[in-house]
Symmetry: C2
Subunit: 489 residues, 2 copies
């Protein structure tokens, strides 16, 4: 019967030359596995027929062994489930101390000295819920599941969908071509498909870029405040972070030069500074490029949510005005299709593409093929642009409503920043401790990201990064009221 | 006669038939002119009315373009002077000739010093084809697509399938539970779901383990010959590789101790040594564990193809007999379901699980959710075991036929190694240069992996690793004949 074959076969070796009869060997192996906890109560055992075939022995000794194990209470027969490990293991078993991997003995356990300072992705203390105001969540009820699942099914049935081998280590050619067209047109990125590498999200892009371009001890400019996950990956790679202040024109290049002219690289979010939301001004962009060209530095441009811009047309990328091939452009599909997909991309200067590929190949060989193919179809058939446009309208409404509500409920106590683009904005508040407020709010299922966590040095601001991507417009007012009420406690 | 204005009109051509809207064209032309230095800081711009007339377009798109250029800081409004090019644009920018990103200028382009020695995944010179004798390919025509695609569709339609957010950074709980049961039962691995991390294949597992456990300069025992991709990831992490010879009992522990007793870690393939196929003997296993326990070293057990064993029952894992929680167990789904999926796993000692999670989170946040869920269903509903058993039969036939054919066609000139398990075996040949033979063979669409590439030092053997996973049994003889004919040329 089919259901029997779902039982896993244990590792038991039978020695035909041994003086111990086969039924005894089988019995002993199973008993030992149960005593040691390798087999668990309730776990299904293979049928005697299957096990006999598997071990290459007659079924008689197996039947005998099973009968013994049943008689002694190691096994049970359960209607509809065949033979299982007994749910109440006999008493004498508990006298044996199973040695568990989980309790290591003393002795040196040296781990690497690489600095790991990253708060866990979902916050060490703060859980990640769903809805108001989780950062980085997309409108899950607006996703075009029907179209997407249709493409999934179509791809499953296609001959291409039946290739099980590694794909192109740079990523699917079709996807990279569709993407280069999109990036040239919508983002002003100068690139060909050959320069694009598909990665598992912008975090991996930052990791790969760090491993190719930077050394242990390399100094890197980072926006202050900035994206805390980027701090984590830079530190993991042994880099020294040089925090450079951000003002309404974006990263203060002159301040960066003063602090550390010879930094090896700068990591910036020029389109929508994370977390304050400023757009880097033209003059700052040119100053930054000029610094990079003069000193031989690299610029990593994280263009993480440029798809959604509400008050002007999208700001062109920094990469597009770079004349010295100093900019590594990083993008992600997480803000459009959700982070579950784990797909992002890196646009690499031509002369570095080979080295990036070598480093990436040693990291994980290359990206999984399936959803790259589905996504390529999604872009090429126009669904991506259509969904983007629809979401820009929707997120625009949510953002406007959120700003209104914040003004109404919090008044002048709150400064709202960065609502011109993206799926989040920042609100700064005086006289609070944002971490503590966030803890309280989480108990009420209101999810706040403390602004202070974005600072590498001493936090200059307290407040919250509020994600509105996954908050329907009619839920915004109640959520802001709840925020106010948490602030008053 | 054009109206004379103090502002010069830049030469901007508007293409009314282009898909790019007019406001975007105007914006881009001006921005380019400023970046390229055609327009200088302080230079007056025409009024929007004049420019509209001049270009023969409505004033609306011109107003939009100007607003954008002002917002981004390319333009400034000056009282009495109208709109001018921003004074903050650095002067020298105008002296530089515009150049394409794709043709970087000279100047320092410092990249990291991390050693990258990995041959590209598909071989620097050798292409990867399909069929005889590509290593690491599964029988693509035997994959249970109907069952798999059914699970894919079912998951697409389920509410779980509609979550777009990050999943558990350790990997799907359901998958880890199904996997821990499988590993305990079929591989004798002692583990709970909490110790399992889902990764994108065994290569990423090695990378994460290296980043957690090793430092720049750490010395690591590696089997000689060994898995060349592992060399790549260790070198990328700055480790010093200590090649330790392999004999028919597996890694020679005494030789390792003699060469470098204080190595931080050893990377081994005890079930089926790659590439020679030996099984590590019980005494060597105990010696290795003893060395690790005495010196505080780690053991990374890469159990890459333990599912398929033909002559005995599966050999239990090294991890399962380790009483000191020194073994990191690495496995992959690539050998059962194909490498396209990019799914593997790491079993981590309990005391290290937190640190592994921190490092992994800074690398790529976590694994994509979709196929983890599908795979969990595939395992829980018994398809995984069933497919494994079916493939063991099939690969067993292919292996037997391959060994027969090699003996018939190559006779005593060839030594066949490692056919007891897995989806590949090795054949050593005297008096050939395996790299050169492989080049010639590739032109005839026969795919040979040179054995010499598996050596870190001077190759002690020449020959080939022959993958038979994706070679139907009736194609084996012709392929071996072709191999013979290539060897004779």
């Amino acid at each position: 019967m089919k259901k029997v074959s779902s039982a896993l076969l244990p590792t038991i070796a039978i020695d035909r030359k041994a003086s111990t009869p086969i039924h005894r060997q089988v019995y002993e192996r199973y008993r030992a596995a149960i005593v040691e906890g390798t087999l668990r109560p309730g776990q299904r055992m293979p049928s005697t027929r299957l096990l006999a075939t598997e071990l290459g022995v007659s079924r008689i000794p197996i039947l005998n062994a099973y009968a013994q194990l049943l008689a002694e209470g190691y096994f049970q027969s359960r209607v509809g489930a065949g033979t299982v490990v007994s749910l109440d293991v006999p008493d004498h078993v508990s006298l044996v101390q199973p040695r568990r991997t989980s309790q290591p003995q003393p002795g040196p356990r040296p781990v690497g000295r690489r600095p790991v300072t990253l708060p866990l992705p979902l916050g060490r203390n703060l859980p990640r819920g769903s809805g108001a105001f989780v950062v980085g969540q997309v409108a899950s009820d607006q996703f075009p599941f029907q179209v997407w699942n249709g493409l999934v099914s179509r791809y499953c049935r296609s001959p291409r969908g039946q290739s099980l081998d590694y794909g192109d280590p740079m990523g699917s050619r079709r996807l990279r071509e569709a993407l280069s067209e999109y990036l040239r047109t919508a983002r002003g990125v100068r690139c060909e498909a050959d320069q694009i590498m598909i990665v598992s999200g912008s975090q991996q892009a930052l990791d790969i870029a760090s491993r190719v371009l930077l050394d242990h001890g390399s100094r890197v400019w980072m926006e202050e405040p900035g994206y805390r996950f980027a701090r984590g990956v830079l530190r993991l790679n042994g880099c020294e972070i040089v925090p450079v202040p951000v003002d309404p024109e974006g990263l203060n290049v002159a301040a960066g030069i003063q602090r550390c002219r010879k930094a090896r690289a700068a990591l910036v979010t020029p389109s929508h500074q994370y977390p304050l939301g400023y757009t880097m001004s033209a003059s700052r962009r040119l100053q930054l490029l000029d610094w990079a060209e003069r000193t031989g530095a690299w610029i990593i441009e994280d263009d993480y949510d440029s798809e959604y811009r509400y008050e002007n047309m999208p700001i062109g990328s920094l990469q597009g005005i770079d004349r010295n091939a100093r900019v590594l452009y990083v993008g992600t599909f997480s803000k459009v299709l959700g982070p579950a997909l784990r797909l992002g991309y890196l646009v690499i200067p031509n002369d570095l593409a080979g080295r990036f590929l070598e480093v990436r190949s040693s990291m994980d060989i290359g990206p999984a093929t399936f959803f790259q193919a589905v996504l390529a179809d999604f872009i090429r058939e126009g669904h991506f642009s259509r969904h983007n446009r629809r979401m820009r309208m929707l997120y625009g409404e949510r953002r406007t409503r959120l700003i209104e509500c914040l003004r109404e409920e919090l008044g002048s106590a709150a400064e709202v920043l960065g609502g011109e683009a993206g799926m989040h904005l920042s609100v700064t508040l005086k006289g609070i401790r944002d971490h503590e407020v966030a803890q309280v709010a989480a108990q009420r299922k209101l999810w706040l990201s403390p602004l202070s966590a974005s600072y590498c040095g001493k936090p200059q601001r307290q407040g919250f990064i509020l994600g509105f991507g996954n908050v329907p417009v009619n839920e915004i007012e109640p959520a802001v009221r709840q925020l106010r009420s948490v602030l008053r406690t």
